[in-house]
């Protein structure tokens, strides 16, 4: 197990008292696995990534039974110990790649900084040349052939896809074991998205790097995804092998998201009305008691005001009192 999160609760103070923005989230990522976490905006999926990286401001209260990376407890690290892991063994890429690049430095200069001293073997006088060589090979690895032009460009000259490739290049400079990708493609056009997905899949296949992919659209996840976790309003709804979940969603939320996604309705009549999830995502001030999907769920019954726990059903885990389509599995 590479990353092991058990009962992660993140809370904050609001005018109406303490609110658990994340409510007992458990998530595991194995070595060499592509794990996609799907949730709509405001579901707290980025908070999980930030809690792993330790980016959260002190206003957020982070508690967990376990927040382990291999055998390191990420909750009790001082700044120095954290620096030895973050950016080296765990790397992260973000949604708006261009805004994370320094507008004042050329791409070459920025990638120079990403190559760590400990990765260089040459003597002091040959270091500069070796560093440049490493940067060029990084650029080649993310599929940029014209490295001279790229190294002399500034961030504003790049297209979105190219900027994200630079982010990936600097993230993989030290061969991280885990790459956290927080909606890296959500603002891209579909063609560029496919390109970035292909690149990530290649890196995964070649170096066995694990990827925790965060996505907001079930219809546009990476095809290579092995495990899928669904998060709604700070609660994990269902988690399991991607093909099982997509073929037979057992949680009403997974089913609803699958239904609303146009990508899965190839045979649907044009202009037909789509099945939707009624209502809107609850605000932090008005979180429902129990299962937070309750008020929007068409299968909800009185018992749903009790929070369901994440239980194992064959190869998947789900948190629902009345799961769908599971009867056939128990023949």
């Amino acid at each position: 197990m590479l990353l092991d999160i058990r009962n992660l609760t993140i809370s904050t103070h609001t005018a109406n008292g303490r609110v658990n923005v994340l409510d007992k989230v458990s998530l595991q990522v194995d070595e060499g696995e592509i794990h996609t976490l799907v949730g709509e905006s405001g579901s707290g999926k980025s908070l999980i990534a930030r809690a792993i990286m330790g980016f959260l401001s002190p206003r957020w209260d982070v508690q967990a039974d376990r927040l382990w990376f291999q055998d390191i407890d990420l909750l009790n690290l001082n700044a120095k110990q954290r620096r030895e892991i973050i950016g080296v063994d765990i790397a992260m890429i973000f949604q708006d790649a261009k805004s994370y690049l320094d507008p004042n430095l050329t791409i070459g200069e920025q990638l120079n900084e990403a190559v760590l001293d400990q990765d260089l073997s040459a003597s002091f006088f040959k270091r500069k040349a070796e560093r440049k060589e490493k940067v060029i090979s990084l650029l080649h690895r993310v599929g940029i052939k014209d490295h001279e032009v790229m190294m002399n460009s500034y961030a504003h000259q790049l297209s979105e896809g190219a900027a994200q490739k630079i982010m990936i290049a600097s993230a993989i400079a030290h061969r991280p074991l885990l790459l956290i990708a927080d909606e890296p493609t959500s603002t891209m056009e579909p063609a560029t998205r496919q390109q970035i997905y292909r690149l990530l899949a290649q890196l995964h296949a070649r170096y066995g790097m694990s990827i925790l992919m965060i996505s907001q659209d079930l219809g546009a996840i990476m095809q290579q995804t092995q495990r899928l976790s669904m998060i709604y309003s700070g609660q994990i709804m269902e988690t399991g092998p991607a093909d099982v979940l997509l073929a037979k969603p057992a949680h009403p939320y997974t089913e609803a998201l699958l239904n609303t996604s146009l990508y899965r309705h190839a045979e649907m009549k044009p202009r037909a009305r789509l099945p939707t999830l009624a209502g809107a995502e609850p605000t932090l001030q008005h979180l429902p008691i129990g299962c937070r999907l309750g008020p929007r769920c068409q299968y909800a019954r009185p018992i749903c005001v009790k929070t369901p726990v994440l239980e194992k059903h064959r190869e998947r885990q789900l948190a629902c009192h009345y799961p769908l389509h599971l009867e056939e599995d128990h023949e």
Partner: protein, 271 residues
């Protein structure tokens, strides 16, 4: 067959002055003509920088064309005459958060187009606002809400309400569904379809998603480098795309050049 909107040989050229007597021009939209019929949906597809957003801005009047004319029901639309145009053509944007004014309540924002373009009195304006809010699935009570009090889906509904409050005939939607969550997107798609059935509005839909275009549109224009390279009904274009660019676009596997500088109309205009 009643022609509602006719775009005739419209162009948009940006001129960038590189030296004192030298300049470089960038043709964002090359001569383009098309016709939109009443109650129909026209989709414009193309990758980034293909000129589709510029074309949308030309139609809605946000930008002035370099040459060419737009006719609405036989009447020429004069660039800069927003009173004439805004009664017929309205626009909704990608980012509902940014397109609503955070300082005004929803009621005030909806009242503004009525104040500028109609001679309704205060009571009639209020009636019209409540009626429009109900059409987009909101309530009259939302009049007193500020944008930040509403969810993303409600904000997009509010911006649709602002667009249809003048009872336009054409609605231009520039990537209006791209950043929405899938459950909200499904709700908005249903709303747009319902409004079209009820009010007979024609849509011009700018989108990069083949799925959305296939579901919503009657006709498709494919743009590439400022030119329309393919046009036809959705069935024709999707089942039998002629150009290799269209085929790639529909497969969503278009590879853009990874290196070098990208020149797009938006960045030129800023300078």
């Amino acid at each position: 067959m009643s022609t509602l909107l006719e775009v005739r040989e419209i162009t948009k050229t940006y001129i960038e002055r590189t030296k004192i007597f030298k300049s470089r021009s960038f043709h964002a939209v090359k001569p383009t003509s098309f016709i939109l019929e009443k109650g129909k949906t026209l989709a414009i597809m193309g990758s980034n920088g293909s000129g589709k957003s510029t074309l949308a801005a030309l139609i809605s009047g946000a930008k002035t064309p370099t040459s060419g004319d737009i006719f609405f029901a036989g009447e020429r639309l004069i660039p800069g005459d927003y009173q004439q145009r805004s009664k017929h053509i309205r626009m909704i944007f990608q980012d509902a958060d940014a397109s609503l004014n955070p300082h005004l309540t929803l009621g005030k924002q909806l009242e503004e187009p009525l104040l500028f373009n109609t001679s309704l009195n205060a009571h009639q304006r209020r009636e019209r606002i409540i009626e429009t809010l109900q059409q987009v699935g909101l309530l009259g009570e939302h009049m007193v809400f500020y944008p930040q009090m509403m969810s993303t889906g409600q904000k997009q509904r509010a911006s649709i309400a602002r667009a249809i409050i003048l009872k336009p005939d054409v609605l231009v939607a520039d990537e209006a569904l791209a950043t929405l969550d899938s459950s909200v997107r499904a709700q908005i798609i249903n709303l747009l379809l319902d409004l079209q059935d009820k009010l007979g509005i024609a849509y011009i839909f700018i989108s990069q998603s083949p799925e959305i275009v296939k579901h919503l549109a009657d006709e498709v224009l494919v743009m590439h480098e400022g030119m329309i390279i393919e046009r036809g009904t959705v069935a024709e274009v999707f089942n039998n795309p002629q150009q290799s660019y269209t085929q790639k676009l529909l497969r969503s596997e278009l590879s853009n050049a990874p290196s070098g500088s990208t020149v797009d109309a938006a960045s030129l205009e800023k300078e």
